[in-house]
Symmetry: C2
Subunit: 217 residues, 2 copies
């Protein structure tokens, strides 16, 4: 039983037995893949049920409406991935803010490796104007990850740990641009630059080198 399954189980005391839980989890995974690949609006519930080997009636039994399916994907897949990323930063949150920025970048690489759907979903449903998960970012993610980080960057800057020429808020934006964007755009730059040799490790060492010099006071 993975972490999400356990969380789902805790949340649903009246849920059906194990086989049904697996079906529900399979549906969530298929929904997530389709949301990232085609977008939420373009995801057909019928195609989703078929891809998971279930009937439309079963999909209806588990989620009822598209809204409840999206909500379940947010609660049981997206927000747990964000919580994972946040938990990685707890040990360094109060320390040196340059270390915190580096840990954020390295941690996000690990989070994306564990949840490879994250960059495409972010582009489609958060970054794109009209994306269906923008409100989730603004209301649920903003207060738990970007805002606390920016506070720490500002405090660290006041202590002289990072360059005074940087803006702590824009620094968070820069970190996203240096991590999420390269993953989301990988199919493009790999082809334009014939860059099949560049793996995630090389991406990380490049970005950490850029930041090491860039953040220094």
């Amino acid at each position: 039983m993975n972490r999400q399954t356990r969380q789902a189980a805790r949340r649903r005391p009246g849920r059906p037995a194990a086989g049904a839980t697996d079906q529900r989890e399979r549906l969530l995974d298929a929904a997530l893949a389709s949301f990232a690949d085609k977008g939420i609006a373009a995801t057909s519930l019928r195609a989703l049920a078929q891809a998971s080997g279930l009937t439309a009636a079963m999909l209806n039994y588990y989620f009822g409406t598209r809204e409840r399916l999206v909500e379940a994907v947010v609660e049981e897949r997206l927000l747990p991935a964000i919580a994972e990323q946040r938990d990685r930063l707890v040990p360094v949150l109060e320390g040196d803010s340059r270390t915190l920025a580096e840990r954020f970048v390295a941690g996000l690489h690990t989070t994306i490796e564990r949840h490879p759907w994250l960059p495409a979903l972010w582009v489609r449903e958060v970054l794109t104007e009209g994306g269906e998960l923008r409100h989730v970012f603004l209301e649920r993610i903003g207060p738990v990850l970007p805002q606390p980080l920016v506070e720490r960057f500002a405090a660290g800057q006041a202590r002289g740990e990072i360059s005074r020429e940087l803006d702590p808020r824009l620094l968070f934006v820069s970190l996203i641009g240096l991590t999420m964007l390269p993953f989301a755009a990988a199919p493009l730059w790999r082809q334009v630059f014939d860059a099949e040799d560049i793996n995630s490790e090389r991406m990380l060492s490049h970005t950490l080198a850029l930041l090491a010099g860039g953040l220094k006071p």
Copy 2:
């Protein structure tokens, strides 16, 4: 007559007189705005004609098919904006590669100020998997801007101008992540960080400060 209009005029020797050219230009602008705002697939040709105060028959007269409309927007709006950005780099192309990277970033700020539709169009139709302009980036933009730049970065790195820990190809990706992404994501970070006070000038000085330290050998 603006620059694009003149270019369009040069390209279309048999075009109708001035009033008609204005109508055609208005249609192109309306199409561009809708492509950036809603996406190419979700743009209704009928709504486009209405928004430009023209009939569907006139739209048909100017462009015939959706494909020809997209092609005209690419040739007469998108590629000229990219050519503008490229032209800005010509004077510094053979010089110091750190200066070239900084000029690319500053130039892209100017390009985006002149063509504010660029970041949203890029997110929707290039960065998003399945975007309708991915092939334009791969075939028409890649060879004229990213590839020559990366060659210069690699040569500059060999001359010791930029840190050996960076990857010249990933450096181009980083520059896009540090410029296009902050503009595309501005409605999000402005709200989450209560950052109405951050203007384009502050964005530029932040990014140049990050790069000044980050590229240094």
